[in-house]
Subunit: 302 residues, 2 copies
C-alpha cells in the first residue's frame, strides 16, 4: 500500500480532471442571465464555482467507474451532489450559523452579496439538485432516478446532514462525548460521503454487497476526513486552508482534538483510513484510486 | 355561477377535511423523537403543524379528484407540497428576509426557536418533500414519481418560488412596473399553485390539454390570490390575518394596491377569478369545487 506524504501526482491529475468536468457541468446548469432576478443566479454561481476540491464528486466518479458507468451520466449526479454540498456551506457560513466571513479565502456568499440572497441561493441550489437528478438526461431508467433522489434526500435531510448541523449547533453549548461527536460527524459529513460512494452503484445497478462495502468505506473515510479537519483546524497554515486557525477550538466546540488530544486523533484517523481501505477488498485492484484517496485524506495539508 | 360573500359551508367542510387529512400525513412524516437533534424536528413540526389553511393541498386534492386518483396517494403529494410552502414561510420570516416576528398569530419559527434552527428546519423540510415524492409509497410508477419531483423542483427553485422571492427583495429597493410585479407574483406564489393544480393530472396521468387547463386556472387563481393579499394587507383585520396591517406598504414595497389603487386592484382580482374559472370548462361540472374556491379567494377576509 503506498503511503504518500502529499497527494501523489496521478491522484492529483484525476482529481483535477473531475474538478474541471464537474465545474463545466455546474456552469451549464447555472448559466448567466439578464433576468431581473439575476443576483440570485450570480450568487448560486459564486457559491459553487469557487475552486472547491470536488472531493465528493471525485468519490462518486470513482465509485461509478467500478460499475462501468458512462462518465457523462455520473457527472450530472456528481454535480447535483456538489450543489447540495455547496448549499450547505453557504447556509453554514451565515451569521446565525457558523458566522464565517470567508470561504476558501474569499468573502462568503452572504458577505459578497447579502444574507437574504445567500439564504435563497442555498435554497435554490438544493432544489436544483433534485431537478437534475429527476431529469431523464441523468438516467433513462426512472427507477434509478428515483433511487438517487431518495438517497440524496436522506443523506442531506434531518436524519443526515441537516441533523448533523443541528447537533453541531447544540455542541456549541453542550460538551459531547466521543460517541455523540462521531454520530454528529457521520451525519454532518459522512452522509454525503456515503451518498457519493453509493451513487455509483445505484447508477450502475450494483448489488447490495457492493453498495454496503462502498457505504462502509465512505463512513470510515468521512470520519477520518473530519478527524483530520479538526487536526488541521489547530495545525494548518491559514494560507492553505483559507480559514482562520483554531476556529472551532475558539468557538468552544467539542472536536476530535479537544476530546481525545491531537496525537490520539492522528492515530484514530490512521486507523479509520486503514479500515476504510479494507472495505474495498471485494473490488480487488479496481478500487486503487479510492484507496489512494483515503491515504491522501490522511496526509492533506488543507 | 354562485357568488358567495363568505366561504360557503360545503367548501369549508371540504377544506376542513383536506386540512385534517394533510395534517395527519405531515404528523406521520414528522414524528416526535428523543434524539439529541430533536429541536430540529420540533421546529419542523412547529413550522408546519400551525393551523394553516392548506389551500395548496386543497387545490391538489381537487385536481386529483378530476382524474379519479386514490386520495391516499394524492395526500402524500399534497403533504410534500405543503412542506415546501411551509419551508418557504419559515425562511421568508427570517430577520434577513421579511423580518416577521409572527406567523398566523404565533411567534415565527426563528422567534420560537432561533435563527439557525429556523434555517435548518426550512432546509430539512424542503429536502423531506423530495424524499416523500420519490418514495414508492407515493406512486407505483417511478416515471410519475420523477415527474412530480421535476415539477415541484421547477416550481420551487430559482425560476419559480426562490426567484420570485429574490425579486420581492429587489422590490424593496426598486419600484416595479405592473408587468414585473405580475411576473414576481407568478413566480413567488403562482408556481406552487400551478404545481398544486397540475399534480393531480400528473398522478392521474391526465393528458396535456387537461394539464394546461389546470396550469392556466392556477396561474390566474394565484395572481388573484396575491392581489387580494395586497388588498387584505391594507384592509383586513389583523386579528383575522394574524399579521400587522399595512406591512408591505410600510416596507415601501410595490404591491398591486400601490401600483393600481385599491379599486382597480379589486376589479383586477375579479377579472382574474372569472378568467380562472373559464379555463375549467373542459372538465364540465366536475370541477365545481375549484370554481367555488376561486370565488372564495376573492371574498376571503383573512
Amino acid at each position: 500500500m503506498p503511503s504518500p506524504r502529499e497527494a501523489p501526482s496521478h491522484l492529483q491529475e484525476k482529481m483535477d480532471e473531475v474538478r474541471e468536468a464537474v465545474d463545466k457541468t455546474i456552469e451549464r446548469l447555472l448559466p448567466h442571465t439578464d433576468l431581473p432576478e439575476a443576483p440570485l443566479f450570480e450568487a448560486m454561481r459564486y457559491g459553487t464555482l469557487n475552486g472547491g476540491k470536488r472531493l465528493r464528486p471525485f468519490l462518486l466518479m470513482q465509485s461509478a467507474r467500478l460499475f462501468n458507468v458512462d462518465p457523462k451520466r455520473a457527472r450530472r449526479v456528481a454535480a447535483a451532489l456538489e450543489l447540495v454540498h455547496c448549499y450547505s456551506l453557504i447556509h453554514d457560513d451565515l451569521p446565525a450559523m457558523d458566522n464565517a466571513d470567508t470561504r476558501r479565502g474569499k468573502p462568503a456568499v452572504h458577505r459578497a452579496y447579502n444574507e437574504a440572497t445567500a439564504i435563497l441561493a442555498g435554497d435554490a441550489l438544493l432544489t436544483l439538485a433534485f431537478e437534475v437528478l429527476s431529469d431523464p438526461e441523468t438516467h433513462e431508467d426512472p427507477r434509478v432516478r428515483c433511487e438517487l433522489v431518495t438517497a440524496l434526500a436522506r443523506a442531506a435531510g434531518g436524519h443526515g446532514m441537516c441533523g448533523g448541523q443541528m447537533l453541531d449547533l447544540i455542541g456549541e453549548r453542550e460538551e459531547f462525548d466521543l460517541g455523540t461527536l462521531s454520530r454528529l460527524q457521520r451525519m454532518k459529513t459522512g452522509a454525503l460521503f456515503e451518498f457519493a460512494c453509493e451513487a455509483g452503484a445505484i447508477i450502475g445497478k450494483g448489488n447490495e454487497p457492493h453498495k454496503k462495502a462502498l457505504r462502509n468505506y465512505a463512513r470510515d473515510l468521512g470520519l477520518a476526513f473530519q478527524v483530520t479537519d479538526d487536526i488541521l483546524d489547530v495545525e494548518a497554515d491559514p494560507k492553505l486552508t483559507g480559514k482562520p486557525a483554531n476556529q472551532d477550538g475558539e468557538a468552544g466546540k467539542t472536536t476530535f482534538v479537544t476530546a481525545m488530544g491531537k496525537e490520539q486523533a492522528k492515530m484514530r484517523a490512521e486507523m479509520l483510513v486503514q479500515q476504510a481501505v479494507r472495505h474495498l477488498h471485494l473490488f480487488e485492484n479496481r478500487a486503487e484510486m479510492l484507496k489512494v484517496l483515503a491515504l491522501y485524506v490522511l496526509e492533506r495539508r488543507a
